[in-house]
C-alpha cells in the first residue's frame, strides 16, 4: 500500500515538474504574446507561474539547447562544425552540403508517405538508415514528426487543409476562408475564433511529434555529429493572410486595403515569434524556419514588400535574434529584388535557402551578412543524370565557395522522383570539388 502511495506521489511530482517546465517555457517565449495571438488584442493574460518559480525552473536542463561543444584543432571537421562555420563565415575544410530531403526519404527507404509522416517510430528508423544511404550530408533535414512541424503546424494554427498522396508530396489546398471584414475580427478575437481548427486526429500527435523531433535532433548532433536543420517553424504574417483570403483576392487586397494587411501582420508578429520560441525550446534547437513564398518578386513589387512585409518581418527577426535563435529563410521562387532589404535585418546567424533566385547575385548582396544555401534545380535532380548533377554542383562550388558562407544544396526540396544516384552525386560533389 505504502509503495503504491509513494509511486503515485512520485508520479504526481514528476507530472507537476513537467507542467512547471512547460509553463516556464511558455513564459520565457512570450506568454502574453501567445495569449493575445489566440484570444485577441484585449485578452487577459492569466498569471500562470510566479516569477521566483519561473527563475528556478529556467535553470532546469530542458530549457537549454543541447549543442555539443566544437572541437578545434582536429584535422577533419564534423558536419555540425561545418554548418556552424558556414553560418558565421568561419574557416572551413570543405563546402558543407545538405540537400533538402524529406519525402524522398520515404521513397528511398520504401516507406509509404503516410507511414513516413505519421508513424514516428518507423520514420525514425528509416531516417537513420537513409543518412548513410545518401552519403552523410552535413545537415539533416528530415526527422520523424517533420510533417507535423512543417505542414501540420500551419494546418493546426491557421486552418489550412492538406492532401496526402500515396506517391506525391503533401500539398496544402487553398480556398477562400476569409472575407475582408475578417482582418478586423482577427485582431478582436485572435486566431482561436478566426483560424484555429481542430485537426481530425486531435492535438496529441503534434505534442508527440515535438518529442520525437527533440530526441532525433539530439541523435543527429550527438551521435552522428551532423547539424539538425531546424527545431522551430514560423511563417510571414503576409503569407498566412494570403492563405486565408485566397491568392487572387489577397492580391487585390494589397491595393484596396493595404492598411488592414499592415495592422493584421503587426498583430500576428508577436504571437508567431512567441510560438516559434516555444517550439525551439521544446525541441532543443534554436533555429527557426521562416516559410516565405508569396512575398517574393514573383508575386509582388519591392515597394509593396517594403510597405507590407518588411516592418513585421523586422520585428519578428529582431526578437528571435535577440533570444539567440538562428534564422533559416526558406525562399522559394525569385527573391533577388527583395534581398537588399534583408541587409537591414540585425546581425545574427542566418541561412538563406534559395530556389529560383539568381544565387550568384544573392551572394553579391548578402556576402558577409547571411550564409546562402542552394540551389541545384529540382528539375535537373528529377530528370538529369548523375554527371549533369555533378557538373552543376561543381559550377556552384566554383562560383560561391570563395569567402565561405555557402552550403551546397538542392533548390527547395529534392523531388520524390529524383533518382537516388543524383542525390548521392550532389552530396559527393562537395567532397570531390569543395575542398578549401
Amino acid at each position: 500500500m505504502k509503495i503504491l502511495l509513494a509511486a503515485i506521489l512520485v508520479f504526481l511530482a514528476a507530472l507537476a515538474a513537467l507542467l512547471a517546465v512547460g509553463l516556464a517555457m511558455i513564459r520565457k517565449s512570450g506568454k502574453e504574446a501567445i495569449v493575445k495571438l489566440f484570444f485577441g488584442k484585449d485578452a487577459k493574460v492569466p498569471g500562470l507561474i510566479t516569477p521566483s518559480l519561473h527563475k528556478a525552473i529556467l535553470a532546469a536542463p530542458m530549457g537549454s539547447s543541447f549543442r555539443p561543444a566544437t572541437t578545434p584543432g582536429k584535422s577533419a571537421m564534423t558536419g555540425y562544425e561545418r554548418i556552424e562555420a558556414a553560418m558565421t563565415f568561419g574557416k572551413l575544410d570543405r563546402v558543407p552540403v545538405s540537400p533538402f530531403l524529406l519525402h524522398h526519404v520515404a521513397k528511398t527507404t520504401g516507406l509509404s508517405i503516410g507511414d513516413f509522416l505519421f508513424d514516428f517510430k518507423k520514420s525514425r528508423i528509416a531516417g537513420r538508415v537513409a543518412y548513410d544511404i545518401y552519403g552523410r550530408p552535413d545537415m539533416v533535414s528530415w526527422f520523424p514528426g517533420a510533417g507535423h512541424l512543417l505542414f501540420g503546424g500551419e494546418r493546426l494554427l491557421f486552418g489550412t487543409d492538406w492532401v496526402v498522396f500515396a506517391d506525391a508530396p503533401v500539398q496544402i489546398v487553398e480556398r477562400k476562408q476569409w472575407e475582408v471584414s475578417d482582418y478586423d475580427r482577427l485582431i478582436e478575437q485572435g486566431i482561436s475564433k478566426t483560424m484555429l481548427k481542430r485537426p481530425p486526429e486531435g492535438f496529441w500527435p503534434f505534442i508527440k511529434a515535438a518529442h520525437y523531433i527533440r530526441q532525433e535532433l539530439r541523435y543527429w548532433e550527438r551521435q552522428r555529429k551532423a547539424a539538425g536543420w531546424v527545431g522551430s517553424v514560423t511563417v510571414f504574417p503576409f503569407e498566412i493572410l494570403s492563405w486565408k483570403r485566397s491568392f487572387e483576392e489577397f492580391m487585390v487586397d494589397i491595393f484596396k486595403v493595404p492598411d488592414k494587411i499592415i495592422v493584421a501582420s503587426d498583430y500576428l508578429a508577436d504571437g508567431l515569434v512567441a510560438l516559434a520560441k516555444l517550439q525551439g525550446r521544446f525541441t532543443g534547437l534554436k533555429r527557426v524556419f521562416f516559410d516565405c513564398n508569396r512575398a517574393s518578386a514573383t508575386y509582388i513589387s519591392p515597394p509593396t514588400f517594403e510597405k507590407l512585409v518588411l516592418p513585421s518581418l523586422k520585428r519578428m527577426v529582431e526578437s528571435l535574434v535577440a533570444d539567440g535563435f538562428d534564422i533559416l529563410f526558406h525562399l522559394d521562387t525569385d527573391w533577388a529584388p527583395m534581398l537588399p532589404y534583408f541587409r537591414e535585418l540585425p546581425a545574427g546567424r542566418y541561412i538563406v535557402e534559395l530556389e529560383h533566385t539568381d544565387i550568384r547575385k544573392a551572394k553579391e548582396i548578402l556576402a558577409g551578412h547571411m550564409c546562402i544555401k542552394g540551389n541545384v534545380s529540382s528539375t535537373l535532380l528529377a530528370l538529369g543524370t548523375p554527371d549533369e548533377v555533378e557538373k552543376e554542383a561543381r559550377n556552384l562550388i566554383d562560383d560561391l565557395a570563395p569567402g565561405g558562407g555557402f552550403i551546397l544544396a538542392s533548390g527547395c526540396e529534392v523531388p520524390m522522383d529524383a533518382p537516388l544516384e543524383n542525390v548521392r552525386a550532389l552530396i559527393n560533389a562537395a567532397r570531390k570539388y569543395g575542398q578549401y
Partner: protein, 211 residues
C-alpha cells in the same frame, strides 16, 4: 477605343474604370467597343509585366477589374442578339493528376479570358485522359498543362503521347507552365512551349490559336 478607360485600367483605378464603362454604356456606345478598350488596357498591363515594371499582383488586380466590367457588359447584352465578342479560340487547361496546385493555372485562365479566348478549365488533379476528351470536345488548338511538382512530368508526357495516339498532335500545340518547368522538362514531355511566366501563355495563344 477609349484612352481614358485604358488608362484607368492600366493605373489600377477600379472605381474610375467601372464608372467610365457605365458612362459609356449609358451614352449608347456598343458593349463590344467598350470591351475592346478593356482588352487594350489588359494588353498594356501585360507589356508592363513583361518589362518587369508590373508584378503579378498588378496583373491579378487588373484582371479583377476587367472581370467586373465584363460582367456589366454581358448584363447589357442580355436583351440583344449575339454574343459580346467572337471568341479568339478555345484553350483547354488544367493541373495534372497528383498535383493540386492551381494558382498559376488560374492566373493563366484569367489572362486568356481577358485576351478574348474561351477557356475550358479542367481544375486540379486531372487525369491525362480527361485532357484528351476535352480537346476533342472543344476542337481547341492550344492545350495548357500546369504543375508545381516534378512528379507531374510523367502526366504531362502521357498527355502529349495520348494526343499523338489520337492523331491530334499536329493540330494541337501543348504549352506547359509552373515553377518546375524548364527546357529539360520541355524535352522530356515533348510539349511545344514551357514557361514560368503566366503572360507567355497569352503570347503563345496569340501565335497558335487562330481559329
Amino acid at each position: 477605343m477609349s484612352e481614358e478607360l485604358i488608362k484607368a485600367i492600366v493605373e489600377l483605378k477600379e472605381e474610375e474604370a467601372i464608372g467610365l464603362a457605365e458612362q459609356a454604356l449609358a451614352s449608347g456606345i456598343e458593349p463590344s467597343e467598350i470591351l475592346l478598350s478593356c482588352q487594350g488596357g489588359m494588353t498594356r498591363v501585360g507589356e508592363l509585366f513583361e518589362q518587369k515594371k508590373y508584378y503579378l499582383s498588378e496583373l491579378v488586380y487588373s484582371g479583377a477589374i476587367f472581370k467586373k466590367i465584363s460582367a456589366l457588359l454581358e448584363e447589357a447584352m442580355k436583351n440583344r442578339d449575339g454574343g459580346l465578342q467572337e471568341s479568339k479560340g478555345a484553350v483547354v487547361i488544367g493541373t495534372v493528376a497528383g498535383d493540386v496546385h492551381d494558382l498559376g493555372k488560374n492566373i493563366v485562365a484569367m489572362l486568356l479570358s481577358g485576351a478574348g479566348y474561351e477557356v475550358f478549365d479542367l481544375g486540379v488533379d486531372a487525369p491525362p485522359e480527361k485532357f484528351i476528351e476535352k480537346v476533342k470536345e472543344t476542337d481547341c488548338r492550344v492545350l495548357g498543362v500546369s504543375a508545381l511538382i516534378t512528379s507531374s512530368f510523367q502526366g504531362m508526357k502521357k498527355i502529349v503521347e495520348l494526343l499523338g495516339e489520337a492523331g491530334l498532335r499536329q493540330k494541337v500545340k501543348v504549352m506547359i507552365g509552373g515553377g518546375v518547368v524548364d527546357d529539360m522538362c520541355l524535352r522530356f514531355t515533348g510539349a511545344d512551349m514551357q514557361s514560368k511566366n503566366a503572360y507567355d501563355a497569352v503570347l503563345f495563344c496569340n501565335e497558335h490559336c487562330r481559329a
